[in-house]
């Protein structure tokens, strides 16, 4: 997906961890649909509690009421049982990227614990390919579920993982869910990250990016 830039402003929603919280979704949708000029919604994983296809269908059916596209990243709960296969069938690859208004969004599986810390997740080789300079791409934003500060992320991979982003010209920020609580990097941190509160806690984040400068606003509903 590639769209020619009309203006430089990107505005999107970061949310995550709907899990068992179906009754919180309509309020979430209503709030997002009431906002102006939202480009799309990122859901940073854990769209199910038990990794069942029935839950994924319940989530997808409800999220269709969003007025703008919804992009769903894989979470650790979604990988339990046969969830991985169900996610691939319904949403596509676990690692994927798209370019929107000159910014590349790199969505990837960071749920290392579910792979018994086999050193392959997150896939640093795939990330390196995605972060290569590309014509028409001026900024990079990554989206994952488990943030590197969590024990569920393979700690052996953290230094190289962060370095890959930090050394990328145009890296804007890394976005996550999983903790259910809002977190962000300190001003001046080279690894600029943002973790959203959960749908369960009736919270999401509005992210605005202008000329690779990111600002965000927490929203409660």
């Amino acid at each position: 997906m590639s769209v020619q830039p009309k203006n430089d402003t990107l505005k999107f929603i970061l949310s995550g961890d709907t899990q068992r919280s179906y009754k919180e979704i309509p309020g979430f949708i209503e709030k997002v649909n009431s906002l102006d000029k939202v480009d799309f919604i990122l859901v940073a994983g854990d769209i199910t509690e038990f990794g069942s296809s029935k839950e994924m269908e319940g989530y997808a059916t409800r999220m269709k009421k969003m007025r703008v596209p919804v992009i769903t990243v894989i979470g650790n709960h979604d990988l339990t049982g046969r969830g991985s296969a169900s996610y691939v069938r319904m949403f596509g690859d676990l690692n994927f990227s798209f370019i929107f208004k000159g910014t590349k969004f790199i969505c990837h599986d960071t749920n290392s614990r579910e792979y018994k810390y086999n050193g392959q997740v997150p896939d640093l080789n795939w990330l390196a390919q995605e972060l290569k300079p590309t014509a028409g791409v001026k900024g990079y934003i990554s989206v994952g579920h488990v943030p590197p500060l969590s024990e569920d992320f393979d700690q052996k991979l953290v230094p190289q993982y962060k370095a890959q982003f930090e050394n990328t010209q145009g890296f804007v920020a890394a976005l996550y869910g999983h903790t259910h609580t809002y977190l962000t990097s300190e001003p001046g941190d080279r690894f600029n990250y943002l973790v959203t509160g959960s749908v369960e806690n009736k919270e999401f984040i509005i992210v605005t990016v202008i000329n690779n400068k990111i600002t965000h606003e927490r929203v409660f509903y």
Partner: protein
């Protein structure tokens, strides 16, 4: 798994050689069961035992199969227990059992489904369910045909048709946490089947 096979083998040996004739009689099923859907396989087949003197209890053991085209391939073993508290006699047909509560357990054999999450990889309580074993609550209704001529002609004592609704602990958790956003019809699944008594 080895211990499991040893136990199964021992059980079969005991059944074949070790027990008295009336005990063996006891193990011969009362019914042959075929079911479609209902959380135990796209198609399933098994044996039914009548329980208690009034024969109102059912113990069913089934093997179910889900083909690749229906979301498999899956092999599912099911053990069901149900009771029929109500009965309505129907002239010229037989009996209707309108509401039969029950519970059943399924075991799904699949490389992606662990019996339990390994303590070596996940802290205790990280995930609180089994991937391979699902407990289900069910209620069924059954029409038992004993009187039509074709029953006897077919060499049967009775032929039953039934429908069975079930839900499992995953769906019930999602239901009770989200009433009324998630409705009862979202969390119950339907199966239909026949029972043949020889």
């Amino acid at each position: 798994m080895n211990a499991y096979f040893t136990r199964c083998t021992l059980l079969i040996l005991v059944l074949c050689f070790g027990v008295r004739a009336n005990a063996q009689q006891f193990l011969i099923p009362d019914e042959l069961i075929l079911q479609h859907a209902g959380s135990i396989g796209y198609v399933s087949a098994g044996a039914g035992y009548k329980l208690f003197n009034n024969e109102r209890g059912n113990l069913d053991l089934l093997y179910g199969y889900v083909p690749k085209s229906k979301g498999g391939t899956l092999h599912i073993i099911t053990a069901k227990f149900a009771y029929k508290p109500f009965v309505i006699n129907v002239n010229k047909l037989g009996k209707i059992y309108p509401f039969n509560p029950g519970l059943f357990f399924t075991y799904t054999a699949h490389p992606d489904l662990q019996l339990k999450f390994s303590k070596d990889n996940w802290p205790k309580g990280y995930y609180y369910w089994s991937e391979a074993i699902r407990p289900h609550l069910s209620f069924s209704n059954e029409l038992e045909l004993t009187k039509p001529r074709f029953i006897k002609a077919a060499g049967l004592k009775s032929l039953s048709v039934y429908s069975e609704f079930n839900s499992n602990e995953w769906y019930l958790v999602n239901y009770f946490q989200n009433v009324p956003e998630v409705s009862v019809k979202d969390v119950f699944k339907l199966g239909i089947g026949v029972r043949m008594r020889f």
